[in-house]
Subunit: 373 residues, 2 copies
């Protein structure tokens, strides 16, 4: 069986206030092309279909449209679960009807021991659940961490598992030692999120969502698809795409897709960026600039956007100057010295002549007064 | 064909802050019983399925559950449209899959000339649309009122209509001279909402939503089902239920259902209500009390709720006392007389001794001072 494994679509996500829906559409279009080209038998969406529990109308429309194209137009079965960003009732809406077309959207803990059976493949679908919820559902006070939750879940599944079948688990969790990114919302506050990979030994294959890096872990049978797009600047170097699994030999390849607009993080000088002495592959990319030499520039963001329309973030480049801070002893330094050191540590540049004049205008030997306080 | 015609469910509606979802479930349960008893062939939901464009999770769950029971469990085709309270994209979500089970949820203007055909019955489904939207959709600047909208809609339908079929229109609108209630949100501000019944002469049957009174109009072929519940105190005397239409003879009966808790509007004295000298059929009903004799009662609402737990609204009963106001000439009257008249007109009772004492404490012959101002 050929399975296309994707997840963490986060449809409707806004990054730094920018709606990513057209970028998401661009990725899904490529995904559809691959479904045709590779004669995929099944599509798995491992949670976080939407970015919010209450998705926008355009987000609802996009998901509706693409799942229609995959499931109804192409007739490909779809197995999907809810992730920690999704609302269960929202995703569950319509699921009775979806099942009749082999689109199985599972959001309930009650279904975890009822696999979806396709040929000799048994798919155990485990939606995201939090620790308290699992504790109540299983009526088991010993459940105190995410690891405990999945220990219980796998024990429950073990009681019904047919060992002669090819057993697949679809889940949404943080596997121990997985590489995290900035855009994954914590699964819980103050509890260990990590789940040991050893819990899943009974499965032939485990297809996961939650971590946005497709190579978040290295394992023979456990895989993350990674997110549909780069959803934070901590992901600029991560490839984005989907996984193609062949269950005959549990071969699992990662297939990268092309982002319509890349995320670019650049550190340098304002001058080289505004004068275009540094060249970027795509000026319309989503940039995060950290630039020095901006302190005297009026509205540098507006100026940058004339050339790079999709700048998302702009920060002054602060070089490491621990030595400066170490050298200043406020009891031994004049106000002027303290001010100079402050300006340099904030702007990453020495005091300009104009800033010196401003200082002289406002600080007229009030040192004694200030000290007396 | 036997059609059960319902509409204006407004699932998720809160009346005076009270969640009506259990009352709604009670009505839908009875509706389901009738579907079985009467061997209904088709269920029509004429808009305003939800009360808000962004329904709560419990609202989504209820609608999902009951439409599942009707359409999947009982195998009854369902024809539904969006009303002015619904969000189109929200209702449209999943509709591709619904259609495969003969649950047709229509939210788009593009489909109005594509009837749903069941045997020799053609159902033209016209979701609610506003005037501006219709103007843009039909690219017709002459559309300036709701009547114009439906004139255009019926003209468009006329171009495709098969006169040999039994033609039914399902819509959501305000038919001219229909009885309105307080809970129908206006379709537009500043425009005439009324649509002339004469536009629909080509149809054998018109099943409508929007007006909450099941007898909002009297017509041989045009019917409102009325809302699922009494959704405002202006509806206390309206029966609530559904309509059963037999298309062989266009016989259309209204079938009343039993509200779990009735809405009761009572005008009287606080004393008779609190001492239970006046008897109500159900003390747990949703009451609107307008009572006299409350001015000296501390927190009358709390006291009433000890006996009538679901009081929704409490107002002082103001009797008509135009003659009082007419008699007072502020230039000719003393402060005491003006005050007495004011208290009486607000509370509907003469000044009490205690109120008189309070008056004397604060008004110590300041008449001159006040007059000089």
């Amino acid at each position: 069986m050929k399975i296309l494994h994707t997840g963490d679509w986060h449809i409707g996500k806004r990054l730094n206030g920018v709606d990513m829906i057209e970028d998401q559409r661009h990725m899904l279009d490529q995904l559809l092309d691959h479904i045709d080209e590779s004669s995929v038998d099944l599509v798995v969406v491992a949670g976080d279909v939407f970015d919010r529990s209450n998705p926008s109308q355009s987000a609802l429309k996009l998901v509706n449209e693409y799942l229609y194209r995959i499931n109804i137009e192409k007739g490909i079965p779809v197995l999907a679960i809810s992730g920690n960003h999704d609302s269960r009732s929202r995703l569950d809406y319509g699921s009775y009807w979806f099942e009749k077309s082999n689109y199985h959207m599972r959001t309930s803990l009650e279904d975890i021991t009822t696999p979806v059976v396709i040929d000799d493949h048994h798919f155990y679908m485990v939606p995201h659940m939090d620790v308290l919820e699992a504790k109540v559902f299983f009526d088991d006070d010993s459940i105190r961490s995410h690891h405990d939750v999945y220990k219980k879940v796998t024990e429950e599944i073990a009681t019904v598992m047919d060992k002669d079948a090819y057993n697949v688990m679809i889940g949404h969790m943080f596997i121990s030692n997985g590489k995290a990114s900035d855009s994954e919302r914590p699964l819980s506050i103050g509890l260990s999120e990590e789940v040991g990979a050893d819990l899943f030994e009974a499965f032939d294959l485990v297809l996961l969502g939650h971590l946005h890096h497709p190579f978040a872990i290295t394992h023979e049978r456990i895989f993350y698809s990674g997110s549909l797009l780069k959803y934070s600047f901590s992901e600029v170097k991560q490839p984005k795409g989907f996984r193609m699994v062949e269950t005959d030999n549990t071969k699992c390849r990662f297939i990268p897709l092309h982002q319509q607009r890349d995320l670019v993080h650049y550190q340098g000088t304002f001058e080289e960026v505004i004068n275009e002495t540094v060249m970027f592959e795509d000026k319309a990319a989503y940039f995060k600039f950290e630039l020095s030499g901006m302190s005297h520039i009026n509205d540098p963001m507006a100026k940058l956007k004339m050339i790079y329309p999709n700048v998302m973030e702009l920060r002054p480049l602060v070089e490491k100057r621990e030595h400066v801070r170490a050298q200043i002893d406020v009891h031994q330094s004049s106000d002027r010295e303290i001010f100079e050191s402050f300006i340099e540590s904030v702007h990453g540049e020495p005091l300009t002549e104009y800033q010196g004049q401003i200082f002289n205008t406002y600080f007229k030997g009030d040192a004694d007064e200030a000290d007396s306080d």
